[in-house]
Subunit: 167 residues, 2 copies
DNA sequence: TATTGTTATACTCTATAACTATA
DNA sequence: TATAGTTATAGAGTATAACAATA
């Protein structure tokens, strides 16, 4: 048993985390839809907001195949949200950069997400919110470490960044 | 500010929750893939594991369009994981029931998920895990209430059930 | 030879609109 | 008329396999 003596109204750790996940993903999906982008596209913007990763790095960050990232970047580029920048050192490689329009979108979306999360945790006391934040951070940091990512490179990206990595 | 005085290593509530979400969804995705199903299909199985909802009810639970649910059920039925049962009271309506094969798959997947979550929270003390479970449960319950769902109808579905509803 | 990225292809998921059949 | 569900269609996301360009 993962949860020793689950109390009244406690779903148990597994169900509680899974359902929390669906609730947060739902919020992300609604916000992304309001801005006419998909969740993966929003996540891409969250990452390139602070970096200019290569396609391969993005594939690692997002745990997707390179070809999937090609398509993701294609569609975001068609919409003017990102651009491909030729690498000066390796002519096989490209770096993905955010545009002004893309930055505007992700900044606005991040603010919306903060508001949605505030709603979601409205029932918790400030102390409980801090506790949750600390516990979630610890889990994410451990997971990132396990996967070889450097979570401390993370900035406040509105949470749309997903896993962060060191180049 | 949602997070009063974020401490060392604290990502802040928004980023911590969002990234936790991606980590859990990643685990869900890996497990589903191991069983050769998609995450939405696994979620469908998690719901029909304990109920025989109509297409419309599923659409409400999953926050999807009816036509999306039709496709989801079509593909799951082709694979022998669920079946459509004619409603005796309303001949327009169908109920979706899980098959023995579907049940086997979801039971096995739920066990895998429990193991993955255990890994994810390996760094936490038992007391911290309980605390996290309680906080997450409270958030999910409040969200469900807000959306008009009855979370207390929930059973241990391996967390694959998503939002629960009263018929 | 190995790596970076793209292309071709196929499947799943999703929504909108139009439809059928019941109620 | 209204409701339950399906079909037709289109677009996004994803992976695999094969490929071109460069290292």
């Amino acid at each position: 048993m993962l949860t020793p003596l689950p109390g009244e109204g406690d779903l148990g750790l597994v169900d509680a985390l899974a359902q929390l996940t669906f609730a947060v993903q739902g919020a992300l999906g609604r916000i992304a839809a309001e801005h006419d982008v998909s969740v993966p596209a929003a996540r891409l913007l969250g990452i390139v907001r602070d970096r200019q990763p290569t396609i391969g790095e993005l594939a690692t960050f997002l745990q997707l195949d390179k070809s999937s990232v090609t398509g993701l970047v294609d569609r975001a580029a068609e919409r003017g949200l990102v651009t491909r920048v030729a690498s000066p050192v390796d002519r096989r490689s490209v770096r993905v950069a955010i545009t002004a329009e893309g930055r505007e979108l992700i900044d606005s979306g991040a603010a919306d997400l903060e508001a949605e999360i505030a709603l979601l945790v409205a029932d918790l006391t400030p102390a409980q919110r801090t506790r949750l934040s600390v516990l979630a951070s610890r889990i994410v940091a451990a997971d990132a470490r396990r996967r070889g990512f450097d979570i401390h490179a993370t900035r406040a990206t509105g949470g749309l960044s997903g896993g962060e990595a060191r180049a």
